[in-house]
Symmetry: C2
C-alpha cells in the first residue's frame, strides 16, 4: 500500500480524492495523460488528464444510463455510432441487442483502448464482437465525412469539454450528428453535472434542442464523478424518450444491473431548479 492519492480539482475550490493502492499505468499519449490505478473503494480506475473517467465499481451506472434510453426508444437500432467510449463499456452494453448489426466506434486515443483492454477487461468485454468496427481517429472528422442519414443511433461518450474532447461540445459537431442520423434516429451523450456545472449542462441541452428540435436531459448517480450526480441528454427529431419499446426493454432488463423501465421514466423527470436553469 502506498500513501499516494489521486486528486481531481475543480475551479481551484473543490477536490475529490481517491487513495491509490498501485499505479498500473501512467503515460502521456499524443493527446493526453492516461492513468490506470488500483483503489481500495472503486477497484481499478481510469483517469485522463487528471479527470476520473471510469471505475470497475461504478462503470455500469454510467454505461447503462448512456446506452439504454436511446437503444430502447429508437425504432431501428441496426447501425450505431459511438464517438469516444475508449474503455469499451458502451460497446458492451450495445452488443446486448441482437437488433444491432454494426457498431462503429471512433476513439481518438489508441492508448485509451489499449490500456482498457489490458487493465479493465471487465468493462470492455465485447471488443471481439464481429459487429464492432473500431476506428482510432478523430470523431469530429468522422462525423463531418460520414454519409448523411447513415446511423440509427449516435452516442457521444466523450470526456469533459477540455483537452481533446473540447470540439465535441461545439454546435457544428451537433449539426454533424444530426446530419448523419436517420430521421427517426436518436442521439445521446453525457452532459456533465447538473448541479456543479449547471451552465455547461444547460448549454449542451439548449444546443441539442436547437439542432435536433427537441432534447431531454436525464439524471442519475455516478459515484466516481465529482459531485456524484450526473446528467445525460437525449435528442431526436421525432422520438419521444418516454415511448419505450417494451419488448426490447424487457429483454435487456434481464442483463442490466441498474437500468429498467421504471428507473427510465424516473430519470427523465426534471427538477424545478434545473427547469429554471434551462429556461433562462
Amino acid at each position: 500500500m502506498s500513501d499516494d492519492w489521486f486528486y481531481e480539482t475543480h475551479e481551484g475550490a473543490l477536490r475529490f480524492g481517491l487513495k491509490i493502492d498501485e499505479m498500473l499505468l501512467d503515460e502521456q499519449s499524443d493527446f493526453q495523460r492516461v492513468q490506470v490505478f488500483e483503489t481500495p473503494l472503486f477497484g481499478r480506475v481510469l483517469a485522463l488528464d487528471g479527470l476520473l473517467m471510469t471505475s470497475e465499481r461504478d462503470e455500469y451506472n454510467y454505461h447503462e444510463m448512456l446506452v439504454h434510453p436511446a437503444l430502447c426508444t429508437a425504432p431501428s437500432i441496426e447501425r450505431v455510432l459511438v464517438i469516444g467510449g475508449g474503455d469499451g463499456g458502451t460497446v458492451r452494453e450495445l452488443m446486448r441487442y441482437p437488433e444491432v448489426k454494426q457498431v462503429v466506434m471512433v476513439e481518438i486515443d489508441g492508448l485509451v483502448v489499449e490500456a482498457s483492454k489490458k487493465y479493465l477487461p471487465s468493462i470492455g468485454s465485447a471488443w471481439d464482437d464481429p459487429r464492432l468496427e473500431l476506428i482510432i481517429g478523430d470523431g469530429i472528422e468522422y462525423v463531418r465525412e460520414a454519409p448523411a442519414a447513415s446511423f440509427d443511433v449516435v452516442l457521444l461518450d466523450g470526456s469533459d469539454p477540455v483537452g481533446p474532447a473540447e470540439g465535441l461540445f461545439d454546435r457544428s459537431f451537433y449539426e454533424g450528428c444530426a446530419r448523419v442520423l436517420r430521421p427517426q434516429g436518436v442521439f445521446a451523450q453525457q452532459s456533465e453535472s447538473p448541479e456543479l456545472f449547471r451552465a455547461v449542462f444547460a448549454d449542451v441541452v439548449r444546443t441539442a434542442r436547437d439542432v435536433f428540435g427537441q432534447a431531454h436531459p436525464y439524471f442519475g448517480p455516478v459515484p466516481l464523478y465529482i459531485s456524484g450526480y450526473w446528467s445525460f441528454t437525449f435528442a431526436s427529431r421525432s422520438v419521444d424518450p418516454l415511448a419505450l419499446i417494451d419488448a426490447r426493454a424487457e429483454r435487456v432488463e434481464q442483463h442490466t444491473r441498474r437500468w429498467d423501465r421504471a428507473l427510465h421514466r424516473a430519470m427523465f423527470v426534471v427538477p424545478k431548479d434545473v427547469r429554471s436553469a434551462l429556461a433562462d
Copy 2:
C-alpha cells in the same frame, strides 16, 4: 484568501475537499467539533466532527427532500417532532404549512443552533415562528419519555452514525419513534449514501421496515455530501408515500425550489441494484 482546505475522508480511501476562504467558527462543544467556514463554491458551510452537514448553496436539496414527502402524505400534520435539525432548515420548510400547529425540535447541541443562527441565517429563517418549541436536549431520551401517539410526523434530521448521533441508528430508537407516532403518522429520515454506504443504508431501511411494517427509501442529489447522491427513508404503519395530498402539495410547490409532485414520484423509484441490496 487562505490556502486552507477542509477534507472529509472516508475509510481512509476517499476524500472530498473544499477550499476554505475564511474560517468563521471552530469550536469544541460538549459533543463535537463545530466548524463554520466560507467557501468559494458552496457559500458558508457547517461541519460537525469533520463531516460536512449543510451549505448555503445546496441546503434546499436536503431539507426539501426530508420534509415534503412526509408532510404531503400524512393525513394530519398538526404536531411534528424533529430530532436534530440544528441548522434550522427543516423547521423553515415545516413552517410553510399552515396546518402545522406545533413543531417540537430536540437538538442535542446548543452550539450548533447558536452557530447556525449567527452564521447561516438564510437556512434557519423560521427560528422566531411561535409554533416552534426548541429543546436543547437528547432526542433519544425525549422520544423515550414522550407520550404514545402524540405526534403526526417525526423527522430524524441527524448526522452520521458516529459521534453523538450514533444512538439514532439503533432499533430501540425506531421503536420509540413508532410509539410516539399516531397510527396514521409518518416518519422520515436521511439514510446515508445508497451507493458508497450501501450497508448502512440497507440496515436503516430494513430496521424501519421491521419496526413500522413498511419503509420506502427515496433518493436525490446532495452535492455537499461525499459521493453526492443521498437516500432518505419514509416509514409509516398505514400511509402510502405515493398517495400525495394534492391540494396541500400544490400549495407548497409555490415555495419549493426543487421538490414537486413529479419529482416526488420519481424519487421513490428504487433502482435494480439497490433493490437487490435491500433483498439480501
